[in-house]
Structures are given as structure tokens and as C-alpha cells.
């Protein structure tokens, strides 16, 4: 498992910490996959990081950067359409985040993700306002896939290619019409001669198959 990737639930221990105890009374009442939600950081980890940063722990600061840099850059690319600008904005955001955390501005450590998101959004909006632009709502240009570095992107593309090859041709077509051309299920159904329910079910199944397969293979690789 690569550093910085918290996936609670692995192949060996699909239920994460919940499986550590044998007492059924302590088992979660809801399905583990709903309960855990693959959180970025557990509440205890968030509290620990925030405390350590307040005490000047540079390793804790580095951990924040490692965990949130991709997300901030992804958000910035999404809204500015500019990878270089996104990098600068991500850096600016992290500087503000660390400064705020050092100053104890975060009262509830369990809201760390939301806190960082809030700062990132403000930094990006300020930039856009200074350029006289509005946050865009146009479809995202996938040529600027954010978050992955070049090697990560190539890895993911190769795995996606393999996963798509294993799909049924009609499922691939449904995914294409949905994700590329933005067709609604009803439009796809009438074009392909299928019912709307069948289109929805096939689309959902195909998306799930591809994303789960790629995620599983990425975890195998890491």
C-alpha cells in the first residue's frame, strides 16, 4: 500500500478495523462499506495531525500536503482549466491551510477536509474574480485530468483501457453516449431499442465494473 493512500478495507481485511473484534455486539449495525466510506483520514488521525501541527511538527505538516495536494489541484484545474495556475493555487492554498492550522483556527479537527476545501475554494474564487471570470460549469476537458502525476495517469489509462476492452460492446456504447455525449437514458433507450430501465441498469453495472476493476488493480500494483 503506497504511503499517503488510506484505503480502509483491503483485500485481506475487507471490513477494516471492524473485523478486529470477535464480539458481535461490537460489530457495526450498518454494512461496513457504508459505515467506513473509505474516509481520507480517520477522526483520530485528523485530531492527531491538527494537534501536532499546532505544536510545530513539520512531519505532520508534510502529511497534510501529501494527503490533500492532489485534491486541491484537481479542484483548481476543474475550475480554472489551467494546470499551471492550478499548481500555484494549490501551493497558495496549502500555505494558508498550514498557517491557519498552526494558529489553531480549526476548532473541530474532524472537519479538517471541509476546512481545507473551504480555503481552497476561496483561493480559487479570489483568483477567478481577479481575472474577471466566473467559476466555470462547462464540461471538464479530460485532456487535463487533474490530480494524477504523469506516471499515475499513464498507469490508470492503461488499466482503464484493459477494463473497457472486457466490456460488452453495447455497454461500452452506452457509457460513451452517457459520458461523452451526455445523452439521457431515455434518449439512449430509444436509439438502441432498449427500455430505459435496461439502459440505466447496464450503465450502472458497466460503470461499477470498470471503476471497481481499475481500483482493485491499482491497489494490487501499490
Amino acid at each position: 500500500m503506497s504511503a499517503g493512500v488510506f484505503v480502509i478495507g483491503s483485500r485481506r481485511n475487507p471490513f477494516g478495523a471492524a473485523q478486529a473484534c470477535n464480539d458481535d455486539r461490537l460489530m457495526p449495525a450498518v454494512p461496513p462499506e457504508t459505515l467506513v466510506k473509505s474516509a481520507l483520514l480517520t477522526p483520530a488521525e485528523q485530531r492527531s495531525l491538527v494537534d501536532r501541527i499546532r505544536q510545530g511538527d513539520s512531519l505532520a505538516e508534510e502529511a497534510i500536503v501529501v494527503r490533500f495536494d492532489r485534491r486541491i489541484r484537481a479542484l483548481a484545474v476543474n475550475r480554472t482549466r489551467d494546470r499551471e495556475v492550478a499548481r500555484d493555487l494549490a501551493q497558495e492554498t496549502l500555505i494558508q491551510v498550514l498557517s491557519a492550522l498552526r494558529g489553531g483556527q480549526l476548532r473541530d479537527a474532524e472537519k479538517l477536509g471541509a476546512f481545507i476545501f473551504g480555503i481552497a475554494r476561496n483561493v480559487i474564487n479570489n483568483y477567478l474574480r481577479s481575472r474577471g471570470r466566473q467559476p466555470t460549469e462547462e464540461p471538464i476537458d479530460d485532456l487535463q485530468i487533474a490530480g494524477d502525476d504523469d506516471s499515475g495517469l499513464a498507469d490508470r489509462m492503461a488499466l482503464v483501457r484493459q477494463a473497457l476492452q472486457r466490456l460488452d460492446a453495447t455497454d461500452r456504447r452506452i457509457m460513451s453516449m452517457t459520458l461523452l455525449e451526455g445523452w439521457k437514458p431515455g434518449e439512449i433507450a430509444s436509439t438502441l431499442g432498449l427500455s430505459v430501465d435496461v439502459v440505466r441498469a447496464r450503465k450502472s453495472r458497466a460503470l461499477k465494473k470498470v471503476t471497481e476493476r481499475v481500483q482493485r488493480w491499482l491497489r494490487i500494483g501499490s
Binding site: 493512500v5 499515475g152 498507469d155 492503461a158 457509457m175 460513451s176 470498470v210 488493480w217 494490487i220 500494483g221
Partner: protein, 316 residues
């Protein structure tokens, strides 16, 4: 916003298409800061869109090419008619009357019949398998079939010799294969002991020292029994070193690990190893499974299956 809501309301797809209202988009963006699974899933969906767009582009180009070819054929056909008509006219006006006037001739003996449809397929038949492009995942092998167009002379990419498509081929010949190429992926995160031993083994593998690679790969598998890349290449090395039983065991282990990037290759090369062991029935099953996966080796698996069927049909 919860993951369930995101799935139920197709939030992610609408986000990619830019169809979310701002408050919902903000809520989703915020969720991504708190949920690793959704963030990774979104990255994968972006990659899916990109790949679908690339394929759609190729399809569009293909469609244009097909239309251009049809137009060209139409053009050629049109102009081919001109000399045909001219010939017809000449025959009608000049030759045919002379034929009618000449004395009866005995019929000419028929020309030698052409040979029956040769059972030999065109040599140099290439596989439709495409070498995977892009870099391998970190610390992970690039599973790749023998690359198309690079087969040794007289041999196809699937290892079928030019005559293998004929009926005169043994199972051992069908089972022969070259080492699948390996491209080391870029490294991310820390290198654990299993990854280190894997790389040691694959360094030898790339030099063609398959027997020498076994120790490193075996160690990698011991350290990480679920490393499908390690079990796969261990199986390949065993088979290429003449240790078929061990190779078959390792390839079966790869398959038992379930859905991995090596599943299809494991079925395909296991089939090859079983052919070398003179077990066509089991090889057949593995080829069927490889075909069912509809991956990049599907075409090669179909060709090999057809060749196997021809070989079996020849037997008394």
C-alpha cells in the same frame, strides 16, 4: 452528501458533464476532500472518458476511411466499366462475326484445375493483439502478449508457425511461445521487500535469464502471495525453463487470485503450457476462458483454438 446519494443521483456523471447546480457541485467537491474512494473513482471516470473519446475518435476516423474506400471503389468500378464496354463493342462488331463464320473447331481441353483451397494460411499472419500502450502501474508488470508484427520470420505473434495453420502441427508446436515482454512501471510510494525481489527477478527476465529469474520471483510470491504480477511471471519463467508442472501451478495460482490485469494472459499462457504437456482438453478450456474475457488476446486465443481443433480433427 454521502456516497450513496452520489451513486443514486448519478452525481459523478453529471459532475463530469458540467450539469450540476453550483450548490450541489460545491457539496460534491467538498465530499471529495473527505472520501478517498469517491475521489479515486472520479479520477478513474475521467480516464474512462478520455479513453472512450480516443476510441470514438478512432472509430470516427475508421468510419471516414470506410466511406472513402467505398467512394474509391465506386470510382474504380465506374471507370472499369469503360474498357469493359469498349471490349464488348469490339467483340460484338469485329470478333464475333468472324467466329460465326469460321469452321467448327474441336473443344479445347480444359486448363489445369487450380489446387484445392490450400490449408495453409497466408504466412506472416499477424495477431490482432495490440501491445498495451502506456506505462505499467507502479511496481507492477506490464502484461503484454507477444507484440504484433514482431514475430520471428515465418512465425505469427501467437507463436503459430506459418505451417501451424495447416493440419501438420503438433501440440508441442502449438504450445510454444516467446516470453511476454515486461516493461517496468514507474515507482510510487515505498518499495517493500516483495517489490524489490520482484524487480530483481525481472531484471534477469529481461536479459532472457528465465531460470535465473525464478529465485527472485519465488521470493516475491512468498512475501506477497497475492501479487498477481509475480505469480504470473514466475509461471512464465518456469515454463520457459522447462519446468512445466511448476509453471502450470503458478499460472493457476494467478487465475485463482481473481480479476487482475494478468487474468487473461494467465489463461492464455496456461493453455500454451498445457498444450506442451499434451493436454488439449484442458488447454481448450483455458482458451475459451481467455476468449470470454474479450481482452487484447482474444484474437490470438481464437486462432490458437482453431489451430488446436484442426490438429485434433486430424487425429484418428
Amino acid at each position: 452528501m454521502t456516497c450513496e446519494e452520489i451513486t443514486r443521483n448519478e452525481i459523478m456523471e453529471r459532475y463530469l458533464l458540467g450539469r450540476l447546480e453550483q450548490p450541489v457541485r460545491d457539496a460534491f467537491d467538498e465530499h471529495l476532500f473527505e472520501c478517498e474512494a469517491c475521489f479515486e473513482r472520479l479520477q478513474t471516470l475521467r480516464a474512462v472518458r478520455r479513453e472512450l473519446a480516443a476510441t470514438a475518435g478512432a472509430f470516427g476516423a475508421e468510419r471516414e476511411r470506410a466511406e472513402a474506400e467505398r467512394a474509391t471503389r465506386g470510382w474504380i468500378w465506374k471507370w472499369a466499366l469503360v474498357p469493359a464496354f469498349a471490349t464488348l463493342i469490339i467483340v460484338s462488331v469485329i470478333v464475333w462475326p468472324r467466329v460465326l463464320r469460321s469452321p467448327a473447331q474441336p473443344p479445347a481441353s480444359p486448363a489445369g484445375q487450380p489446387a484445392g483451397g490450400s490449408a495453409t494460411a497466408s504466412p506472416g499472419q499477424t495477431s490482432s493483439g495490440q501491445a498495451s500502450s502506456g506505462q505499467a502501474p507502479s511496481g507492477q508488470a506490464q502484461p503484454s502478449q507477444a507484440t504484433s508484427g514482431q514475430a520471428p520470420p515465418g512465425q505469427t505473434s501467437s507463436g503459430l508457425s506459418a505451417s501451424a495453420s495447416s493440419t501438420n502441427v503438433t501440440l508441442a508446436e502449438l504450445g510454444r511461445f516467446e516470453a511476454p515482454p515486461f516493461t517496468p512501471g514507474s515507482l510510487r510510494g515505498s518499495q517493500d521487500a516483495a517489490a524489490t525481489r520482484f524487480r530483481e527477478g525481472m531484471t534477469r527476465y529481461r536479459r532472457g535469464d528465465y531460470r535465473g529469474a525464478i529465485a527472485g520471483l519465488r521470493a516475491a510470491v512468498r512475501l506477497d502471495p497475492e501479487a498477481a504480477h509475480a505469480t504470473f511471471f514466475l509461471g512464465i519463467c518456469h515454463v520457459l525453463s522447462g519446468q512445466r508442472d511448476e509453471g502450470i501451478r503458478a499460472l493457476r495460482q494467478t487465475i485463482q487470485l481473481g480479476d487482475s490485469p494478468f487474468l487473461e494472459e494467465a489463461h492464455f499462457y496456461l493453455a500454451k503450457a498445457l498444450l506442451q504437456q499434451n493436454d488439449p482438453a484442458a488447454a481448450r478450456q483455458e482458451l475459451m476462458r481467455a476468449i470470454e474475457l474479450k481482452g487484447s488476446l482474444e484474437q490470438q486465443a481464437r486462432q490458437l483454438l482453431a489451430a488446436l481443433d484442426r490438429t485434433q480433427a486430424r487425429r484418428p
